[in-house]
């Protein structure tokens, strides 16, 4: 634990030095990478540790984005709006988890997948509050320059990623992490041995929601504009999963490594093959699934957490 924590502090300190480069392009990439990191770390709680294939990330992300945006529209200060987004996502995950986590395998995957669709349609229809399909503009924070704003949102996302990562470190060593690993390996046996599986799973699901919700709110403030198809994009769910698969759930750093690697690939593909970038992304996913069995096996058999 100590070694992991030290390595993490060093890593985050290194990332924190990025604004020194002063390059806006790198700032944007860095912020996006940290956001992806939050998505991946969060998915890991429910998908990596408990082994439940959740596709709810997009729902949490969109919910957080809209909670933050609507709160700011109603006059709540930005930082408080972000906190509200986290609370909403947490409460939503708790309610949703109690209903959906009784399902296993495909059924859980599908049910969590359609949640984002339902929320998107609801947001689309609630035009008075959310602006519907026209989207929602957010107030631009009063900061000296565009550059200062970029740096501000970078550090906000960095703080969130660090918090999510620290939570991972704590959870892995805790009773909760142990219980989740038991659930992943054999849920019925864990249940029989006295692990309160429902409570553990719901806790993991809440952890997988709260940080993503805040990330959504920060994203909304960062872009100053959101619309339903953007923030409820199912690709957020899929990317979270692919990043963890890519990094491998074998270590606590897996999701972070996966996020950095995935973003690099995505950016390269996007820059060079604009017309076919989703197709190339699809090809990468297929190749990953077919030829990277180690990262995948670790997910299945739970080699989670080194000594």
């Amino acid at each position: 634990m100590k070694r992991d924590a030290l390595a993490a502090v060093a890593l985050f300190a290194l990332i924190a030095a990025l604004p020194l480069s002063g390059d806006s392009y790198w700032m944007r990439l860095g912020t996006t990478m940290l956001m992806y990191g939050v998505l991946a770390i969060s998915w890991n709680f429910i998908g990596g540790m408990a082994g439940y294939p959740s596709f709810a990330s997009a729902a949490f992300f969109g919910l957080g984005a809209y909670t933050g945006a609507v709160a700011q529209k109603l006059g709540v200060p930005m930082a408080l709006a972000w906190g509200l987004a986290g609370i909403f996502a947490l409460a939503f995950a708790a309610a949703l988890g109690l209903a959906l986590l009784r399902l296993r395998g495909h059924y859980f995957a599908i049910a969590s997948l359609v949640v984002a669709e339902v929320l998107r349609e609801l947001v689309n229809a609630a035009t008075d509050l959310t602006g519907g399909g026209m989207g929602l503009n957010l107030p631009i924070p009063r900061l000296a320059s565009v550059q200062a704003q970029a740096v501000f949102f970078f550090y906000a996302m960095l703080a969130l990623a660090a918090l999510a990562f620290a939570t991972t470190l704590v959870v892995v060593r805790s009773r909760l992490g142990f219980g989740l690993r038991c659930i992943q390996q054999n849920e019925s046996a864990a249940d029989m041995l006295g692990v309160n599986t429902t409570r553990y799973k719901v806790a993991a699901f809440m952890l997988s929601g709260v940080f993503v919700g805040v990330a959504g709110a920060i994203y909304a403030s960062w872009l100053h504009y959101i619309e339903p198809p953007d923030v409820f994009d199912v690709l957020y769910s899929v990317k979270a999963i692919v990043m963890v698969l890519l990094g491998g759930a074998g270590s606590v750093f897996g999701p972070l490594v996966g996020a950095a690697l995935f973003l690099s690939l995505e950016e390269l593909v996007w820059r060079n093959y604009l017309q076919v970038h989703t197709g190339v992304l699809g090809l990468l996913i297929v190749l990953l699934v077919m030829f990277l069995p180690r990262g995948l096996m670790s997910l299945r058999f739970g080699v989670w957490g080194r000594a």
Binding site: G47, P53, A99, L100, R102, L103, G105, H106, Y107, A109, I110, A111, L113, V114, V115, E117, V118, E121, L122, N124, A125, V234, V238, I241, V242, L245, Q275, V276, H277, T278, G279, L281, G282, L283, L284, I285, V286, L288, V289, M290, L296, L299, R300
Partner: protein, 288 residues
């Protein structure tokens, strides 16, 4: 009288939905693979019918005969060459695999056909059938009849033919079927081929009624999910009942709550059914 018309509309829509979902449900039930490609297969079938009509003047009903062998071959090759390698992997991986394939296919269609919506317009139009106060467009009615006939045919294949019995056997117990001399991998490939065939054929039928674009694949995929859950997995009668139910629910939902809530309504229905009866309204393991 209005509600009778809405009911008729819903049943017509539901017949098409049944055809959309039957293949998806079969693949899910037999292979335990969620085929995310299904929506794109439907769209591809739609384009096939569209171009067959606009270039060669082939009527969409006949285009089904062209679509069927092509899509069966496509599905068979995909399964035998690619998905069979991953078939023993956990749920999440096969799902991710078909998702990746779907990204590729839909991107290819986007490049080839552009994102414009196109509509196959029959010349001359088939007109409408008036039964008292009921007005039924003949193109929709005949498409629904064909869709139900296709679904019925799939049911007969599964219930009567040798290969169909083998598919059902694999679904019930893979190991036992293998011990009885069934080539499980070949059955997987045939099943996936049949699923693709149903998707392509229903796409050809839908092209007459709804505008097609590479972007609508996920819409049909979502409907297939809902119908599967409503009717229970891997069961053709279940898909039929689920499809008709969804069609009627959507039609009345549009009347009562407004059309913009149709998707919300069907997905809410899905979640409620999942939570109350995870095996589907008709769900049971076993025979067709």
């Amino acid at each position: 009288m209005l509600s009778l018309q809405i009911l008729a509309n819903g049943l017509i829509l539901g017949g098409l939905y049944a055809c959309i979902a039957a293949g998806f449900s079969l693949v899910w039930g037999v292979l335990n693979v969620i085929n995310i490609l299904h929506g794109s297969f439907i769209v591809l079938g739609g384009y096939l019918a569209f171009f067959a009509y606009s270039i060669a003047g082939i009527h969409p009903f006949l285009a089904i005969l062209i679509a069927a062998p092509l899509f069966f071959a496509l599905g068979y090759v995909l399964q035998a060459g690619l998905i069979n390698r991953m078939i023993a992997a956990p749920v999440l991986l096969t799902l991710t695999l078909t998702f990746g394939l779907d990204l590729m296919l839909s991107n290819a269609m986007l490049v080839a056909f552009s994102a414009d919506f196109r509509k196959l317009i029959l010349e001359p139009p088939l007109g409408v059938l008036s039964l008292g106060a009921l007005v039924l467009p003949v193109d929709r009615l005949s498409a629904m009849a064909l869709a139900l006939a296709l679904t019925g045919l799939l049911y007969l294949v599964l219930a009567r033919s040798r290969i169909g019995r083998a598919i059902v056997a694999v679904r019930m117990d893979r190991e036992a079927a293998a011990l009885m001399g069934v080539n499980v991998r070949r059955i997987y490939a045939v099943t996936f081929g049949l699923g693709a065939l149903m998707a392509g054929a229903s796409g050809a039928l839908l092209a007459m009624i709804f505008p097609i674009s590479p972007l609508v694949g996920p819409v049909y995929l979502g409907k297939a999910f809902v119908i599967c859950v409503l009717g229970g997995l891997g069961s053709v009668p279940g898909a039929m009942i689920g499809g008709l139910t969804l069609g009627v629910v959507e039609s009345f939902g549009a009347l009562w709550f407004g059309p913009e809530h149709a998707v919300t309504l069907s997905f809410t229905l899905l979640i409620v059914v999942l939570v109350i009866r995870p095996s589907g309204l008709l769900g049971r393991k076993g025979y067709e």
